[in-house]
């Protein structure tokens, strides 16, 4: 029972981290129709920048400055890269962001090398917040939860309650009309791209110390972010939140409990074959949930695409 609570907290942490990445990605997609393959690379840049800044100025300045730099870089990429490629259609855009992802990974290796960086949790937060039957919850995780929730509320407020948010929402569906009304739509695009990448940067800054700061970090997280926004519905902020939390909890619980395929199949009425060693499905029967935990989100994505192609909260089919 205690373990359920602990796992819920862990799932929440994983989910919220995923949310910060997918929020930016889904915003960018819904507005510009661009699937940004380099999104996770901005997450990695966030971690590396923050590490570099934290050496000189400490963790907190890193948290403040690194996302800003990443955001400015992102805006620059939109202004001088994507906007030029945009006129040639979506495929060149995809290829552009894909190339950018490779470029950033190589650059990071070139500058910082291939080793893991000793980027660690600040001393102020390096203690155990509380423990549930021997399982300690580090204070840093609580900090991660608060930062992510704060960002979600801030985003929600800006998008739904402010003038800027309304223009963004309008530009989402009717860019031409918004432009005709005298708003600078390309500027809005640039701003959204910048903010989206800055969010990825924040995720990198706070995830770097716990998940490790190394050149493979973008690769490890890259595909799962796409899965998240497909499940949540492309372009939906709420969808991104729900899908992130769902994936976070799903994988955490699957890893924490050894549910065996044999038990699941028996429970739904399929009997274990008499001679399992000879059965061609032996590997299938002997699966345990931790083994398949990391592919569960992908299975979920396939199911969603079959039964609800627009995603959980998606509005459009295209």
């Amino acid at each position: 029972m205690d373990l359920i609570l602990v796992n819920l907290i862990d799932g929440l942490v994983t989910g919220l981290l995923l949310f910060m990445l997918s929020a930016g990605l889904t915003l960018i997609f819904s507005m510009m129709g661009v699937l940004n393959f380099a999104h996770a690379s901005f997450y990695m840049l966030g971690a590396y920048f923050a590490y570099q800044i934290s050496i000189a100025l400490g963790f907190w300045m890193g948290l403040l400055i690194a996302p800003l730099i990443v955001g400015v870089l992102g805006a620059g990429v939109e202004r001088y890269g994507l906007r030029r490629v945009h006129q040639y259609g979506h495929v060149p855009e995809l290829i552009f962001t894909f190339g950018l992802a490779l470029l950033i990974e190589e650059l990071v290796q070139f500058i910082w090398g291939k080793n893991q960086m000793p980027y660690s949790v600040p001393d102020v937060l390096n203690f155990t917040a509380f423990a549930i039957s021997g399982n300690s919850i580090p204070a840093y995780k609580i900090f991660m939860i608060f930062i992510s929730i704060g960002i979600f509320l801030g985003l929600l407020y800006v998008l739904t309650k402010t003038r800027v948010g309304m223009i963004i929402q309008a530009a989402l569906s009717y860019p031409r009309t918004v432009e005709a009304l005298g708003h600078n739509v390309p500027l809005i695009f640039m701003g959204v791209f910048g903010v989206g990448t800055a969010l990825a940067g924040v995720a990198g800054v706070i995830a770097g110390p716990v998940l490790g700061t190394f050149p493979g970090m973008a690769f490890v997280l890259g595909s799962i972010v796409f899965v998240t926004i497909v499940i949540g519905g492309l372009g939906s902020l709420w969808g991104a939140l729900v899908a992130s939390l769902l994936i976070g909890c799903l994988t955490t619980f699957a890893k924490s409990y050894n549910i065996e395929m044999e038990n699941v199949l028996n429970a739904i009425g399929i009997l274990t074959p008499d001679d399992l060693d000879d059965s061609i499905f032996r590997d299938f029967w002997s699966l345990t949930s931790p083994q398949i935990a990391d592919i569960l989100p992908y299975i979920l994505m396939v199911l969603i695409l079959i039964f609800r192609p627009a995603g959980l909260f998606g509005k459009r089919l295209s």
Partner: protein
């Protein structure tokens, strides 16, 4: 006229020098290991150590035979067996005769099979496989072949030494086994289970599980399971980013016992563990770093530090591999006939600068060497890793570990 004669003599002389330089060909050694992806740092650091070993130990001392130089060429296999076979073919096409590989036994299994096949079909371009770190016991047992030599101790030898230490610690009653889901991770778990059962039947194995290799983002759920079983010690064979992720996670989430492991040093791992792993992480290694085994090793380490200020010598066996290969080539008098070289490697005794005498067991091509149990600490560290002030300090040594261990290898010689 006099000038012309002089010119002729000089040009003739330069021709002769040029020709003899052309005769002294490089002996190419292909390094097939991950140079990109999650395990890039492990691979790159290995490559640096190989390049340095070839340069410092061999080339700077005039090379082997009549001044032939060692040349180490890196091939990126992305830790994939499929990619490795492609790189192997590329290497063979470039005239490479010696393949070194170590990261991932999955790759080593694929390579040893492919090399065996290649050597049978192409007697003119045979290659030797010098395995410096892939420790799946099968490679020197059921799957052994004449072309494969292992310079690392295999997983069973290492576990034998580790469990000796664990068996002596009466405080350990419950042990949790966790590893990467592939041949090596499974071999570690199987060895730990059987050896602990033999040496300390009272120890309960409270967990035995495998996780996907190189794909886990967050080890927290695994850490929770370890802690909820109230294990006194954890045994893992994890390496690279998986080792760091697992180790950090179980320490952060409240585990207080020791972690017994194979590869938890260097490549940024030592620095990242830092204070949190002090006295907790125990590794089975070979080669004395702290205290350093010999004056020769100290000079070499300092020279290495000069060339790679950010680097570590965390795989001293790489230097043994290069040293033994050079000796075998010199004794065989050729670097092209790999059968002759292999025959010299078989049964070779080699005094290592890192301590002890090495012995290449002829029946299975498994190197027998002294094994050390070392602890991660910042006390009495002469050579730290990752410039972190922390390093590994030898706690105990097992001389000629598993010298008489059985093997199922039936070596077929050409």
């Amino acid at each position: 006229m006099k000038n012309i004669t002089k010119l002729g003599a000089v040009s003739a002389l330069s021709l002769v020098i040029g020709a003899s330089a052309a005769f002294a060909e490089n002996i190419k050694i292909a390094f097939i290991d991950p140079l990109s992806g999650p395990f890039a740092s492990t691979g790159t650091n290995g490559l640096h150590q190989f390049e340095f070993a070839a340069q410092y130990m061999i080339n700077d001392n005039g090379g082997v035979l009549d001044g032939d130089m060692f040349e180490v060429i890196g091939f990126d296999n992305k830790t994939s067996p499929k990619e490795s076979l492609i790189q192997l073919q590329v290497a063979i096409d470039q005239g490479v005769r010696f393949i070194v590989q170590g990261n991932s036994s999955g790759v080593a299994n694929a390579l040893t099979e492919a090399i065996d096949k290649h050597n049978r079909r192409n007697p003119d371009s045979r290659v030797l496989f010098l395995n410096y770190a892939a420790v799946d016991p099968a490679l020197t047992n059921d799957k052994c072949n004449f072309w494969h030599f292992r310079f690392d101790a295999n997983a069973d030898i290492k576990m034998d030494a580790l469990t000796d230490v664990i068996a002596k610690d009466q405080d350990i009653k419950k042990v949790y086994l966790i590893g990467q889901d592939y041949s090596f991770g499974k071999a570690v778990a199987a060895a730990a289970e059987s050896m602990l059962g033999e040496k300390r039947p009272d120890i309960e194995i409270v967990g035995n599980e495998l996780h996907p290799i190189g794909k886990v983002k967050d080890f927290t759920p695994y850490a929770r399971k370890v802690i909820s079983t109230e294990a006194d010690a954890v045994i893992t064979g994890n390496w690279g980013a998986d080792m760091l992720g697992l180790g950090k996670s179980i320490i952060e989430n409240g585990f207080t016992g020791p972690i017994y492991t194979y590869y938890a040093a260097g490549s940024g791992i030592t620095a990242a563990f830092g204070e949190s792993g002090k006295g907790r992480i125990r590794l089975i290694t070979q080669g004395g770093i702290n205290p350093i085994a010999s004056e020769e090793a100290r000079t070499l380490y300092n020279a290495f530090k000069e060339k790679y200020p950010e680097g570590n010598i965390d795989q001293s066996r790489i230097f043994n591999t290069i040293g033994m290969l050079a000796q075998a080539i010199n004794e065989a008098g050729t670097a092209d006939d790999v059968v002759a070289v292999a025959n010299k490697l078989e049964g070779m005794k080699y005094p290592s600068m890192w301590g002890g005498e090495l012995y290449m067991r002829p029946q299975d091509h498994q190197l027998i060497q002294d094994m050390n149990i070392a602890v991660h600490t910042d006390e009495n560290v002469e050579f730290d890793y990752d410039n972190s002030g922390f390093g590994v300090v030898t706690e105990s040594t097992i001389v000629n570990a598993s010298m008489d261990s059985p093997t199922t290898c039936e070596m077929k010689r050409p």
